[in-house]
Symmetry: C2
DNA sequence: AACATTGGATAAATCATACTTTTGATCCCC
DNA sequence: GGGGATCAAAAGTATGATTTATCCAATGTT
């Protein structure tokens, strides 16, 4: 699966440090000294410094002379950084984060659907209907993984078809939500047939160039998803 | 203004490099060699490498042995990184980015308003109504800067009151949109009285704990804003 | 001729170390 | 007790040495 662990010591140290901070083992306000981190991870100063720099650019720590590296409060973090999202998903707050991301999705995807209705290329329309068909097939056969892949394809294509780069950049977030939902059994064993129908309606409305209908159908999808999670 | 240029060579080099990449002077696919960057900026390897690491963590470049530092295609960038947003706002694509961010806002803020209606604390309700009052005062007097400050306060408070960290993290984005709009004269000289009324309706609905009404009123606000920009 | 193997060159990655600068803390004098 | 000089700690910067991955081409094999 999406393991973008770059080879390289610094990436490994970054990953470990991020996990430690997210988990709270390194709590906000705590100061780390570079020398201590060198020892802890058994790497050179260069490597530690580069990892710290990246962490600093994500707002998770701040480095000051004569003081050391201070872990920042959560309010300062760039919560949209994909690494932070992954670290949080891998930690104890997985469930609450999925809820937050689901609410974000609820706002963003209907708008993306409306925009896609006026911006989608014929190729993208084809991808959308193709994804819906695959969802229908695998939904009936009960192959949840294949269903998930088709679902992700659908939403990725739609976000890209919105013609809005910022919405397109949320593809990874949406994919994480969908994957997290199935992998943590927050979904029925057999997908709701009505969900598939709504996806088909979105695809059709996009193809027909009807923003209002596309937005409505997409809103049905995400609100059903919200209900399903709340009801868990 | 919000100049978080950390003192330090590496931050300065990072800023220059980011600007060069965003502007297209360093185009996707182009390879940079570290030695060459040392010379260009007159700094040591250490500094260049740390800047490159941060840029890499933002997805703007990728560094590979034996080949060098390659500028990545835009699709790989973390478009939600505050630095990238600032660099793009400072570049020629300012206007198109503001449009994209406005569309994002259109999706996110109504959801935030609905959530705020069930999560806002009394203090946050007070801040909201206070911000609306300041908007009314400065809107009538024509003090656009003070009006902007109150407007930003309103939306920041609302996003925080949603109780959703991800939505709260979008405060900077919304603030940039609002500021960019006034500073680039995409707004009428005197704010629409109806806009102020809608803000008041949101504040009232939030205080009353009415998510549906809060969402509707907020939708009025952001859709009016979209219309105003499109009509420019 | 097409393909696999090997070897060398190259540039980043890592390590080690020395030097600089900032800044919190202490001490001293008034 | 307050204010300024001084000290020292820790990050910041610079640089040379060494390691490692990998592209490229030359060579050899089928």
């Amino acid at each position: 699966m999406g393991d973008d662990n770059r080879p390289g010591l610094h990436g490994s140290v970054l990953d470990q440090l991020g996990t430690l901070v997210v988990s709270g083992e390194y709590a906000p306000g705590q100061v780390l000294r570079i020398e201590q981190l060198e020892a802890r991870f058994g790497v050179s100063r260069t490597v530690v410094r580069e990892a710290i720099r990246v962490l600093e650019s994500m707002g998770m720590v701040s480095s000051r002379r004569r003081v050391g590296v201070t872990v920042s409060v959560r309010a300062a973090w760039n919560l949209f950084d994909p690494r932070i999202i992954r670290w949080r998903l891998d930690s104890g707050e997985r469930e609450s984060l999925l809820r937050s991301l689901g609410e974000l999705r609820r706002g963003v995807e209907p708008v993306a659907a409306a925009l896609a209705a006026t911006h989608a290329t014929p190729e993208q329309c084809g991808e959308l209907t193709g994804a819906v068909m695959r969802m229908a097939v695998h939904g009936k056969s009960g192959d949840l993984e294949a269903y998930l892949a088709a679902d992700i394809d659908f939403h990725r294509t739609l976000l890209e078809a919105s013609g809005n780069e910022m919405l397109g950049a949320l593809t990874t977030v949406v994919a994480e939500v969908l994957a997290g939902r199935t992998h943590h059994h927050l979904m029925p064993v057999l997908p709701e047939p009505v969900a598939i129908r709504w996806h088909a309606e979105v695809a059709q409305a996009v193809q027909a160039g009807d923003p209002v209908e596309a937005e409505r159908a997409m809103r049905d999808i995400v609100e059903e998803a919200t209900r399903a999670m709340v009801g868990d």
